[in-house]
Symmetry: C2
């Protein structure tokens, strides 16, 4: 194989109750990436379409993730990476994770798959480290493994993939404002009241149970966030009304995607997800804030190969 073209999916992290541990993979929202094997060793970002991001591999999320992987696998050839960004940076649906995940997935394919998917999550996490200054895997894990993922811990990295119930769909509204991850981190408290923490881990346990048993109502009951949402929602105009509208139109639950500003809703059935996305869109029409609207099944597999030769 000399080159590979990939779909690099967007992802929704946290999922209300699972701050820093849970995530899911979207199926029809994502970047495209083309990676060519070249005679020249090393990694080069040759082209980025749709975003103003650094071309130097050492400063680019995809480049850093790729170099992290290649530090564990010596080759006498190299890779040219071309990125077509469709996920907006700072949207809260895993833009940097998509690039990091695509780079390690694609190069692994071109190397003949020496690494397991869970190794790829580890390498891609270093791309996230380059983007945000802290190592985290709650977006790269679902981008690479698909379905729902739980990052249980980091020492060592322990990631559990959970398949999605078949009839679960995701509605996402991305209001076009900037919420910097650093700012969204800064508003959080460093301590959580024990009572709120107990509710949170009860909900994480319940959500995982609901996913295994395909209990959509239980999944909905678990989508509460007493840790980040109470503080972060102030950064997102129209959040309360949007969430309320999503619930009124039949969403199982709704909350902030990652550190925002995107808002996600989980829904049973495509038609409900479409209705919920329309209703959430109406809020931003009324506010007069530009937005992107997405409706997607849960992507069962993560990064997809579009072409290879």
């Amino acid at each position: 194989m000399k080159s590979i073209k990939l779909f690099c999916p967007a992802t929704v992290a946290n999922l209300s109750c699972g701050f820093d541990v849970l995530g899911l993979c979207l199926d029809n929202v994502g970047d495209e990436m083309i990676i060519h094997k070249t005679n020249e060793p090393g990694v080069r970002i040759t082209k980025i379409v749709g975003a103003d991001l650094p071309l130097e591999a050492e400063k680019n999320v995809a480049g850093v993730a790729a170099l992290s992987m290649l530090s564990q696998w010596q080759t006498d050839f190299g890779f040219d990476i071309e990125i077509h960004k469709k996920i907006k940076a700072g949207s809260g649906i895993g833009s940097s994770a998509a690039s990091a995940a695509g780079a390690v997935f694609g190069i692994n394919e071109l190397l003949g798959k020496p690494f397991e998917p869970k190794d790829l999550v580890w390498f891609a996490g270093w791309g996230e480290h380059a983007a945000s200054g802290s190592y985290h895997a709650d977006n790269v894990a679902p981008a690479l493994l698909g379905g729902f993922t739980l990052v249980r811990g980091y020492n060592p990295l322990d990631v559990i993939k959970i398949d999605s119930p078949p009839d679960l769909f995701v509605a996402v509204i991305h209001p076009q404002i900037e919420v910097k991850t650093a700012e969204a981190r800064a508003v959080l408290k460093k301590e959580v009241p024990l009572k709120a923490a107990i509710a949170q881990w009860g909900n994480v346990g319940g959500l995982v149970a609901g996913l295994y048993t395909h209990d959509y109502e239980l999944i909905g009951r678990c989508l509460h966030d007493g840790v980040a949402e109470p503080y972060r929602k102030a950064l997102i105009p129209g959040f309360d009304e949007t969430k309320k509208t999503a619930m009124a139109h039949g969403a199982l639950g709704a909350g902030i995607s990652g550190s925002g500003p995107s808002i996600f809703a989980l829904c049973k059935g495509l038609s409900t997800a479409e209705k919920v996305a329309d209703a959430m869109s109406d809020i931003y029409e009324t506010i007069g804030l530009p937005y992107h609207r997405h409706v997607s099944p849960v992507n069962p597999d993560g990064v997809k190969i579009l072409e290879q030769q």
Copy 2:
């Protein structure tokens, strides 16, 4: 049916990562209870063998639980309850929960089962309220439903039962010291560092996943407690050494049962559980502290009917 004789099982709450939400049911450790239908309305505790507990129904855990249920179901007859306590009060393996669970289970049978098992958990929780001053269901839920249980929340009560993987066994050591629940509560911090809280809900999610997928290693990796154990272990002489020994002898994980002083270890296979229980016993032999030792499968069903007529 005029009378019923029951086995009322002991239970292990918290399970390291799941403070206040998780529990499991033991299979061969428990009280016996005999309930007779009588012509005289009301609930009477006619006899308690093996413990010095109040006979007035309104002050007795079993009585309070029974009265809570009967406030929702009028009868022109009543019930005499005889309790043979085998679980020591204050042991940390759900002594009061066993009595509360037995009373509501037995009376429900004698009434012709008007209530669902999850209703019974709610009523039994009021027995726990009488015992400790706070409503909680993390012992009565596994005592009534069997297996593992997750109390997701209380408004309204939301309890999820998870079947145990078949090869999971529990070793329990009960050092004969008194740890008052109130004291064990008092040593806890009212706030949890966000980092410790994240680790805790990652572990709860992982443990639930491990139970559904029968992944014994994953179950073991999740048995950590950064919230209660660091403070409560000081109340239990020999805790660190006992836990270390349990792990060295092959336990998947070990921790404080409920609020202590009992120490539990989850093990794959009966022979490992026996070895672990022996090794934990040796610690208390050396310390010179009297103890009880239990090895049990996970009870799949909760309270059992021994006789009825």
